[in-house]
């Protein structure tokens, strides 16, 4: 097989940074679902907290995407 792949190795770094964000978002929503399943009336209280946690953990993956484009 001949041929070459062109591109930036930055994108591999972005993929690696997305692992952490993915695990974090999974943990946040696992805890949220757990909480709502145990006490359904707490959903209104837990929902903003869950989305705030989503926002904070997702920041890592977003910064990774931005750095993948910005650094060259």
């Amino acid at each position: 097989m001949e041929g070459s792949i062109n591109g930036s190795i930055n994108l591999i770094g972005y993929g690696l940074s997305a692992i952490g964000g993915g695990i974090g978002v999974g943990l946040v929503f696992a805890a949220y679902i757990n909480g709502v399943a145990r006490q359904p009336e707490a959903q209104r209280v837990l929902q903003p907290i869950a989305f705030l946690g989503l926002a904070l953990t997702e920041a890592l993956a977003i910064l990774g995407l931005v750095f993948a484009f910005v650094l060259s």
Partner: protein, 245 residues
């Protein structure tokens, strides 16, 4: 990315498809809500019901639940406009012929997040005076010897990372979703143009995957509008009640 201008003459330089879509979105939202609110009946018709449900979602589901108290109603117009502006502009990405989420250009997302940033800064300063910066950066109940580490982290996370991620979250999800649909389209075209019939057949699999990604993207578009508005409400609440956090 920057798209070419759609109007040929010089005065409209830089007037690209995204700007046209932004203007159109304002028209769509205004027409919908003016029509929905025109005949206020006690027993709402279909259109009025849709308009009231949309308004009630933002008012009760976001503003009242998060900001709470008596003065949440002051911030409903901002949250309401933000939610529907972002929603319509995102949904463009899933509608044929429009097919471009406006916030796949980062400029629009920067402007919205900038508006929100200065809004909650001014709210915090009005409510708490200059003491707001101390309240926002010095967490209570932390031993004094950890403070030199905690305060820089709080400053960076509250005043720098917060607006940056607020705008980039919207931009990055729109860009990534748009890219993946486009890449799937190119993949289908590439496979169909192969000479081997078996390779051509695999394009059906890519098409199925592309449709699935398209649906996921439509979900994410609505979710991002919600998340952006929700975070706006959370930031405003944090600025309003800085002394109780």
């Amino acid at each position: 990315m920057h798209l070419p201008a759609i109007l040929p003459w010089g005065a409209a330089e830089g007037f690209s498809k995204q700007m046209l879509l932004v203007l159109l979105s304002v028209v769509f939202i205004a027409v919908f809500f003016v029509l929905a609110a025109r005949k206020g009946q006690l027993v709402p018709g279909k259109l009025q019901f849709a308009g009231e449900a949309a308004y009630g979602f933002v008012r009760n589901g976001i503003a009242k639940d998060i900001i709470g108290g008596k003065d949440f109603i002051k911030y409903v117009p901002l949250l309401f406009s933000l939610f529907f502006f972002i929603l319509v502009n995102n949904i463009y990405g899933a509608i044929p012929f429009f097919q471009l989420p406006t916030f796949s250009h980062v400029g629009g997302a920067y402007v919205l997040a900038g508006i929100v940033y200065f809004t909650w800064l001014i709210i915090g300063l009005k409510k708490n005076g200059i003491r707001y910066f101390k309240l926002a950066t010095v967490p209570s109940g932390v031993p004094w010897y950890i403070l030199p580490i905690v305060i820089p982290i709080e400053i960076i996370s509250n005043f720098i990372v917060r607006p940056v991620t607020h705008s980039l979250r919207l931009f990055a999800t729109m860009l990534a979703g748009h890219l993946i649909v486009m890449i799937a389209g190119y993949g289908i075209e590439f496979l169909v143009s192969q000479e081997n019939i078996l390779l051509q057949g695999t394009s059906v699999l890519v098409l199925a995957g592309a449709i699935a990604m398209y649906m996921l993207e439509a979900l994410i578009m609505v979710l991002q509008a919600y998340v952006f508005t929700l975070l706006t409400a959370i930031y405003i609440e944090g600025a309003l009640h800085a002394d109780s956090h």
